[in-house]
């Protein structure tokens, strides 16, 4: 059953049982802070990349106004919740991620660490530079050189993973969505907590079984969710219980994380990471690319409206939000500031939104 498989995955995400098991087996678990970190390269070195997601939100050493994602990761790290990781890798995609990395280095002193310098241009020089960054990353993490053979195997595993997610994401966009917003988010969060070859086994079954589902048709409004490093399942649950069908999203932690297949070579990997339009800032024309990405998601999922889940501490959303609102002015759009938690006020505003635009 799809539900059971997803719950099993999600339980593992909450307990981190796989990651702890890898660590016990003597394997390197590397915490990553951004989806611009080339996980395939880390995987090819025999290590396990795991995107860090925190659970705490009471900052002590970093300012209280920074984004929920950074506060969560940092405070969970300080409390020792990431005791299964041996190293961290981030990239220069935004100031928060750079300084979160720095703060973690300063206070936690991880055994292994690397900061990927992300080129903002997308020319030949940038490709060459990023390629070298990948080679340096592998050397720094493991002491040995990247093996192209192993890399190609890792790329295959990740491409398979991306294919599964592509299929599941498409099922969300069907007239009767076969995967709910909560299920989707649980799958994506779970994918941070085990090797991709392991989750692929689950995804194969989930995709097959989900195809036979009837889907949900009694919703009142189809919406696209827009945001950044979002991971609040409770809010999605609330929305679905109100009659929203969450048919797509562009979160860095979900709909923006998986797109783009890599060609089977280091060059192919480089091109994949430098071309992913879901990434927020790592380009010269990030605004244009982000808007185009949202457009493609909204149109392929036939969303009737957009809910922007804005974290007021998110520098990326903070700069882009007015342009996104302007660009989608012909589609019903609502902005919710999510950094103050799910409040009654949200529910009232969402109810008004669905009343105005839903069936």
């Amino acid at each position: 059953m799809v539900e059971e498989l997803i719950e099993e995955l999600y339980r593992n995400y909450l307990t981190k049982s796989y990651l702890r098991g890898y660590k016990m087996d003597g394997r390197l678990v590397i915490g990553t802070l951004c989806n611009t970190v080339p996980e395939e390269a880390i995987h090819s070195c025999g290590a396990i990349p795991s995107r860090l997601i925190g659970s705490s939100n009471t900052p002590s050493k970093i300012p209280s106004w920074v984004c929920i994602y950074a506060k969560g990761v940092f405070e969970s790290a300080i409390r020792g919740e990431f005791d299964y990781i041996t190293g961290i890798v981030s990239s220069t995609s935004d100031d928060t991620k750079i300084h979160l990395y720095s703060a973690m280095l300063f206070y936690l002193k991880p055994e292994r660490h690397y900061l990927i310098q992300l080129p903002y241009q997308k020319d030949g020089d940038a490709e060459e530079f990023y390629k070298n960054e990948i080679l340096r990353l592998c050397k720094k993490l493991t002491g040995s050189d990247l093996s192209e053979d192993k890399l190609n195997k890792s790329i295959s595993i990740y491409n398979r993973f991306r294919e599964f997610l592509f299929e599941l994401d498409s099922m969300r966009g069907e007239e009767k969505p076969k995967i709910s917003g909560v299920e989707w988010m649980k799958i994506l969060l779970s994918s941070t907590a085990m090797l991709k070859e392991e989750i692929n086994k689950y995804l194969l079954k989930i995709v097959e079984e989900a195809k036979d589902r009837d889907g949900v048709g009694d919703y009142r409004m189809r919406v696209h969710l827009s945001g950044n490093d979002f991971f609040n399942i409770e809010l999605i649950e609330t929305m679905e219980s109100m009659g929203f069908a969450i048919v797509s999203d562009d979160f860095c932690t979900a709909g923006g994380y998986y797109p783009g297949f890599a060609g089977k070579s280091l060059d192919g990997l480089v091109r994949r990471y430098l071309s992913q339009s879901a990434c927020n800032l790592a380009s010269e024309n990030s605004l244009k690319e982000r808007i185009e990405f949202i457009e493609s998601k909204v149109s392929s999922s036939n969303a009737d409206g957009i809910v922007i889940l804005r974290d007021r501490g998110c520098e990326v959303c903070g700069h882009q939000c007015p342009f996104i609102m302007e660009e989608f002015r012909d589609i019903p759009t609502i902005v919710l500031d999510v950094d103050s938690g799910v409040t009654e006020q949200y529910q009232t505003r969402l109810e008004a939104f669905i009343e105005a635009y839903g069936d």
């Binding site: 990395y101 720095s102 903002y120 501490g313 903070g318 700069h319």
Partner: protein, 408 residues
């Protein structure tokens, strides 16, 4: 003696007069206007005769004149994030509602140059501004330096024992790309002779500015942060100009004389390190502290704006500019200890600039490193640089006084 500043006020007045006069003349000639940010290679402004405007400086000006509040509110009500840097919010507010902004406004740009030599925010805001004006921009993507790429950086000169040549050459290639971009937008080729001359001026000026910062660490503290804080204007924006050199020569001889005579800015009771962007709306806070004998021989924010320019290696110098500790991972923070010891500080006043991830996220690590290595305590104040609502000045004074008492 209550308060005895160096008297740089007149020098600044002259500096700004000459800077504005240059702007006017070039604008009349129809030269290109561009917006630049701190840590951009300001020398190129003088090589290419560009009319520069600086969103950070303009925002500070709006804050000191009281218009930044309205502009920040304008930005937030237009949908921009609450917790973005005040410079962005003030500038974008002035674009949306110029009638609310302090005059003269910045001239509208023909193009924008941003770098990641300090923050990604420069890149983020330049994208917003370029889109609003429909103009081209160029980004120079400097590395954020880590232990993998740099060793032992001098906190003042930014000279390093080792800098990864691979990163240097990648950054130099981008800087050369910037030169090509400027050749294109300005419609003129690079004048090699001019380039050489501007960098000679930059080198001389940079040496003098570094000496001023060194002399500030003398006992008693010779100058006031009211006047030293504005050195960032020279370090960030006009390095390479003749008027910056003139300023630096006079400012250096004044402070040298003062140190020789062992004259201080006030009757020194305690010596504080300070870091963080000045709350431009409340600069009098420094004066207030100094009058009470709390002097600031070391301002790490000002020091970050300085670097030793080397005219024999102009492109490498432009890279060196990015080697300030705020662009280095925190495990390299120990570089601040040398000058903290030399300045014989008793405590630190650290300003957490709300919305600025660069200055704010590093404040606690600075406090911790000072405490662990030198036993020096810190007071951290939340102080957005253009928004006085968050920082109650009277409360800040009380907190600082209580902190000072605990040190005495």
């Amino acid at each position: 003696m209550d308060w005895n500043p160096l008297g740089y006020k007149n020098l600044y007045r002259e500096l700004f007069r000459k800077h504005l006069q240059r702007q006017e003349e070039l604008l009349k000639k129809g030269n290109k206007t561009a917006w630049f940010f701190s840590f951009a290679p300001s020398e190129l402004i003088y090589v290419f005769d560009i009319v520069p405007a600086y969103p950070e400086q303009y925002s500070a000006y709006c804050a000191s004149r009281g218009s930044s509040l309205d502009l920040i509110d304008e930005s937030i009500s237009s949908g921009y994030g609450h917790f973005l840097c005040d410079y962005f919010k003030t500038t974008v507010g002035s674009i949306i509602s110029p009638e609310k902004a302090t005059k003269p406004l910045m001239p509208p740009p023909d193009f924008i140059v941003d770098t990641r030599a300090l923050c990604v925010a420069h890149h983020e805001m330049s994208e917003v501004f370029a889109r609003k004006f429909g103009i081209p921009k160029y980004t120079v993507n400097y590395p954020y330096w880590t232990e993998d790429s740099v060793r032992n950086v001098d906190e003042l000169t930014k000279e390093a024992e080792w800098v990864d040549p691979y990163y240097v050459s990648y950054t130099v290639s981008q800087l050369k790309g910037l030169v090509r971009f400027l050749e294109n937008v300005c419609g003129e080729g690079l004048d090699e002779e001019r380039f050489r001359k501007v960098f000679e001026i930059s080198e001389k000026t940079s040496k003098l500015l570094i000496e001023i910062a060194r002399l500030m660490m003398s006992r008693p503290t010779p100058g006031s942060q009211r006047e030293i804080a504005d050195l960032v204007f020279l370090g960030f924006f006009v390095l390479g100009s003749e008027y910056a050199l003139e300023f630096a020569e006079k400012a250096y001889s004044t402070i040298k004389e003062r140190v020789k005579k062992k004259e201080g800015v006030s009757n020194e009771k305690i010596r504080l390190l300070t870091f963080g962007i000045m709350p431009w709306h409340s600069l009098a806070l420094y004066e207030y502290c100094e009058m009470k004998g709390m002097n600031f021989p070391l301002n790490l924010y000002v020091n970050a704006s300085l670097h030793l320019s080397d005219s024999s290696k102009p492109f490498e110098s432009m890279v060196r500019r990015s080697l300030h500790f705020t662009n280095c991972s925190y495990d390299l923070l120990e570089c601040i200890l040398k000058n903290a010891k030399r300045a014989e500080i008793d405590g630190a006043l650290l300003l957490e600039n709300t919305g600025c991830r660069i200055t704010s996220m590093i404040t606690r690590p600075i406090a911790d490193i000072l405490n662990e290595n030198l036993g020096v305590p810190s007071l951290i104040l939340e102080a957005p640089q253009c928004d006085p609502r968050v920082m109650n000045i009277e409360r800040a004074k009380t907190q600082i006084e209580a902190f000072a008492e605990s040190l005495m």
